[in-house]
Every structure is written in structure tokens, then in C-alpha cells.
Amino acid sequence: MPMVNPYKPVKAKLKKIVDETPNIKTFTLVLEEQMEFKTGQFVQFTVPEVGEAPFTPSSSPYVKDQMEITIMSAGRVTEAIHSLKEGDTVGIRGPLGKGYPLEEFKGKEVLILGGGVGMAPLRSLLLTLIAQKKDFKRILLLYGAKTPQDIIYKGQFADWRKEGVEIHRSVDNGDEDWKEKVGVVTVLLDDVKLGKEVVIICGPPIMMKFGTLSVLEMGYKPENIYLSMEKNMSCGIGKCGHCALGHYFVCKDGPVFKYSEIKDIEGIWD
């Protein structure tokens, strides 16, 4: 019987690279073997002889022939990824972890709170929700970025609005063309009347922390707050130990957790 090697990636060709912001790019990949994933599951992106780094695809799981991954240049591996060119071959290992529990969102008002490149996995979620929009009472997206230039998927918000998603955006620092809100993303919570059913948060650690504290204060229940935890996922299969968060391994038990599951663990925001 041939060995099943969970450490071996599938080869993928970089079909297209889009500059989203000065330090964020979206990579469209065509995999040699099709890889089905659930929205919210992640993959390991391999650059040969450099390393691997974990990302949640930002494309819809309904799109089978290619996969999009939006990546900020933030470290050794992501810098190498940013220097790749269209036509280069990389590796993709996955899908890993558990996706967003869509069943738990059904029939409810779904609030998505995103910050910066944290919008990447949320885009996949949003596209999935849009594809099944009849199943949800209401879909809202509150998105914040540092400046108007740092907003990713700039041209796509209009399409999502057309699909019935209520969208509010803010930037920490505006410019003369910016007509929307200025301030950290949580200021947008004051602008909308919410049924406080479920909220999904993804963004930089500080935004995750204050986003969570804000929605808790508003009356969201800890078990209805879904957080995408970013820890050092390496093997992705619950063996190597790096992403330990209390007794969980974020790679296999997450990366999406309910706040109620992790609230008592030290260091969740660090």
C-alpha cells in the first residue's frame, strides 16, 4: 500500500498575482490535484527550500478549479511568497483544521467583523454565505483598515452590497477622498442596529481582542462569538506542538473557536 504522507504538498501553479495594497497580494493558484475545502479551513503554502506558512483560502469553496489566497508580507516565508512570479510552482498542503460551522449560523443574523488582511478568510466566508443567502436572516460586514490604501478587495465591496450584504467600513487614518467612517473598526458597531445573534471576527491580535470585548459588552454571548485564531501552525495535523493554545492545537481543533471555548486560556490575544 502506498504511504499516505500528510507532510507532502500538492504542486500548484501561480496563475495570477494581484496587488491589493503595498504589502498584500492575492495569489490565484491552479492545483495539480483538486483540493476541496470548507470555508474557514486553512492550507499550508510551501515555497521550496524556504518554508511553509498557513493561510485560509480567500476564495469560495464552490470554486473548484482554482484557489485564491491573500497574503500580507510579514515574515520570512511571506516575503519569499511576495517575490514569486506568475507561472511559478509552489506547494499547497491541506485542507487543514475545521471550517466555520455554517450550520450554527443558519436562520440567524450574521455579523462579520474584519480588520486588515483578516478580511482574507472572511471573504471566503462571505462568498459562501452569499451563495446560500436565503439561509441567513441578515448578513453584515464591518471592515476596518489602517488607511484607504490598505483596504483589500477594493473593487469587490460593491458586488457584495448588490448581493444584499450590509457593509460599513472605517479606516484609522482617512484622506481627502475618504467619505466613510474614521476610527478603529469597533466604532462601526455604533452605526448599526444589531440583533446580536452571531459574530465572526478576524483581524490583527489587538483588533480581535477589542472587537471581542466590544461585542461582549453589547450583549453577544461568548458561545456566539467565533474567532479565527492565528497561532504558529506548522505541521497542521496536531503533532508538532507549535500552535498549542491551552490543551487545544489550533491547527486541528480550530483555527475557528468560539470565544466560550478559549476565554479562560492565557495568552489568546498575544
Binding site: 504538498p9 527550500e49 506558512a53
Partner: protein
Amino acid sequence: METKFISKDKIKQFIDNLEGDVFIPQEKEDFFSWQKYPCNFSLRGFRTILPPKFFFYSPQEVLKEKEIVKRTVVGIKACDLKGVLFLKKVFKEGDFVDPFFRDDILIISSDCTELHKNCFCSLLGDNPYPEKGFDLNLSEVKDGFIVEIGSDRGKKLVEENEGLFSSVEPEGLEERKQRRDALRKEIKGEKIDFDGKEVKSEKITDEIKKCVSCTACTIVCPSCFCFLLDEKSDFEKIRFWDSCQYPGYARVAGGANPRKELDKRFIHRVKCKFEYSPERFGSRGCFGCGRCISGCLGGINFKDVLLRLVEK
């Protein structure tokens, strides 16, 4: 379990007959070390200076299918056998199975006949003799060994070497019991009840301060399993043992690090062994071999650390 007897003069013959690579403890001045057979060997004493996890889980390995040579490890002591069984749970159970951890190795364990000064298995409620998980276990008695058969592979091995074994007299089993009880009594201290849940780091601040993050405790631990992956060319991976005691172990791109501080890493290790591992794998991750004490550059006595953590 079924038992047999093998005399001292026949044990070498039996080991000679084992196929493939055989590793066995050799007695040095005041410790035991693993050697590749044929060599002088000893099945007496206590655990080897390094754990047998090396044989099952390579410290540095390219993760691709390769030829493997049949391997037997003889003389694994009780604590280390528990360590191997723990690692098997980590690597071979769950949604994903690691194909590179070697669970094909034949295990011939043996009873401890004396204690190392840092041993504390009984403090955790364990015994200095193997009770399960071996293919064969050897318990020294006068003139030879009681051989306990723990698996079908062990049984087959005994059958293949039928002429070397004889049946066990009741006095033999009685002698084994007496020897085991006597050694167990030598381990000082009552069993502690520690589940790692309420760890107060203030109780051990002075001990934590001695840690220099050298990671020796994790390297010599029979059950520490953490590893690091690195990328070779052509999408092959290589893995190395890693340690949660390195400051950068849990750091992510962008710099966030949940265990930047020494005390957090130290407590994480304690909780991993006693709180998290039971929840993750259904087994505690410390078996009282005391190697972390022997190996600590800062002179931390982990046995004392545990005793202080359970103090009211």
C-alpha cells in the same frame, strides 16, 4: 499474561537470534547508554542516560518513504516504555497518522533492579517495572529472567526460540514479586495527585529563574514530541526535534508570541505534561524518569517543582 523462564547463560543466545538491528543498554561507570548489539550489555539497573524515543522518532529526518531495517530495542525500562506508548498516541492516533514514527519496532522491556537518584515514577503512581505495551518483558530473578509475553509478536519470538525457554516455577513468580516490591519501597515519597490545572507559578519563581532555555529537559524527555519542519528542494520536508522552551517557538509572523516570557514557557511545559496531554491524548506526559533533573543546566529539580506545586 503468559510467562516463561530463560536462564542467564541462554539470554545472549536469544539476543543473538534477534533479526535486524538490536539496541541494548550498556553499563558505563555510573550510567547506562544505548549501544548497537553485538556489544557487552546489561539488563540491570535503571533507565538509560538518553530515552529510547530516538529509535522510534528520529531527531532529524527527511519525510519521505524509505527502506527501513527491522529493529528491536531490548532493555527499555517502565518509564520509557510509557513514553514510547505516549508518543504512539501522539503520532499514530487522531485524524492524521504520521507514517514516519516507527511503531513496527519490537520492544523487549525489562524491570528496573535499582534506582537512579532522580527517579520518581512511584511519586506519580507508576511502578518501576513494565506492565503493558511490550512484546516481551524480562524480570531478573536468581539464575535468569522471568519472560512475560505481552503480544502475539512476543509469543512468536518465544516459539521460534523454543529450546531457550522453560516453564516458570511458582517460586520464580514469587521471587519476581518480592524483588519488585522491594525496589518500589526504595522510592521515597507518597504518590502525589497533580492534574496541572491550578498551577501557581509564584510557588516556584526561584526555580523558574534558574532556567536558561537550553531545552535539555525536552530533548531528554521520553515523551516530548514537538518538532519543526523545514523545506528542502522538490517539496520534500525535513523535520527536527524542537522545544517549547525556545523563546521563538510559538512566535508568528508579525511578532506576536503567546509565550515570550520564561515563566510562561516553563508553566506551559508543566501543564502540557499534566493537564493538556491527558485532555489531548488520554495520558499524562511525564513518567518520572527524572532525566530533566539530570540534564538541567540550571540545576532545577523538577521532582521538587512538582512537590512544591502540590503543596497546599
